[in-house]
Symmetry: C2
Subunit: 200 residues, 2 copies
């Protein structure tokens, strides 16, 4: 039945394994294969956040070059449950800064299988969105399945979003002001700095 | 740790169980509880597709009334694997018509647990999007987990999207024309009917 479908329709789309939408303009998946490139084209990606330390595969590099997609690589070792070293949180912070910068959207986050490293980054992003922790874990586990790791959940739980949130508040403040300071917006000539959002 | 988080932040958001984004303006979940209403407000829903035959719970009805959300109910029995009767495909077709009508977006699809009925509707929607069947199944199983049902996969596989697709092509044709008929757009005064997309 499936083969008939494929034969009838040359445009059949094959999303990468573990593909999903996270938010408007944010997607997640495992490592895209050449068979997924047709699908990826439909996303009109502006950037990719790649979470493995290995060099980006040549076919994938050709794809991002051909479509003028920015590649942000944050090399995080693919650990096993028994590993004692944990994900460096400053790496996740760096990736989060790229992720929340709408100038990079639409953006695809991926590692190898789209379970652990991607799951940790999305989990930290959900904390930033003030999702309750049990919902963050539920989403993590939906993608990790039986491969879920207690170390990942612990990483997500203890990851400190407050600092990043304050940084965001400070940007919002510079843009809009808040409370009784809202008038500050009116005095741009007073030398209030334009917000600078830095990627990486 | 989580309780501390909740106490620190009154705005903690609790998405419904099995919540996820499907596409821009399309969400899926299990039955929302009152504790999820704060989160649902952030979605600015215009409509809800409810797939159970049971009357909508009063709290949920109050929520949709208060937020001027249109409720589309398509009563599908919650079956068990052993059940011999299958989902009526015309009911799914009806729900699909509401789902793809952007005037209803943002829309939330939900049944009770967000696994089987919701999974079947989303699966048929993916076929309409020309996703390959193995990717459709992967997504279905991510949400159904160990509760996945072979009958649901069979339903999705055999569901006929061609008729609905032709109906869409005919709407697109009326809007834009295609191929050598593109000029038809120029002659609206010739009595070419305006497309009428009917909900339900």
């Amino acid at each position: 039945m499936m083969i008939v479908d494929v034969e009838e329709n040359d445009d059949v789309l094959v999303p990468p394994t573990n593909f999903s939408m996270v938010e408007d303009g944010i997607f997640r998946s495992g490592l895209p294969q050449p068979s997924n490139f047709g699908f990826l084209e439909t996303l009109n990606l502006r950037s990719i956040i790649y979470l493995c330390p290995e060099a980006y595969p040549q076919e994938n590099m050709d794809f991002v070059d051909a479509h003028d997609i920015k590649l942000f690589q944050f090399g995080i070792e693919g650990k096993t449950e028994s590993s004692s070293t944990s994900i460096p949180s400053h790496t996740i912070t760096g990736a989060l800064k790229v992720l929340i910068d709408v100038r990079n959207h639409p953006v695809l986050i991926h590692c190898k299988r789209g379970k652990h490293r991607t799951g940790c980054l999305v989990g930290c992003f959900r904390k930033l969105q003030t999702w309750c922790l049990s919902s963050v874990f539920e989403e993590y586990q939906r993608f990790a399945g039986v491969k879920w790791r207690a170390t990942d959940l612990r990483f997500i739980e203890t990851f400190e979003v407050m600092c990043l949130r304050q940084c965001l508040y400070s940007i919002i403040y510079q843009y809009q002001g808040y409370g009784s300071n809202k008038r500050r917006l009116l005095y741009q000539e007073e030398g209030i700095q334009k917000p600078k959002i830095k990627s990486i």
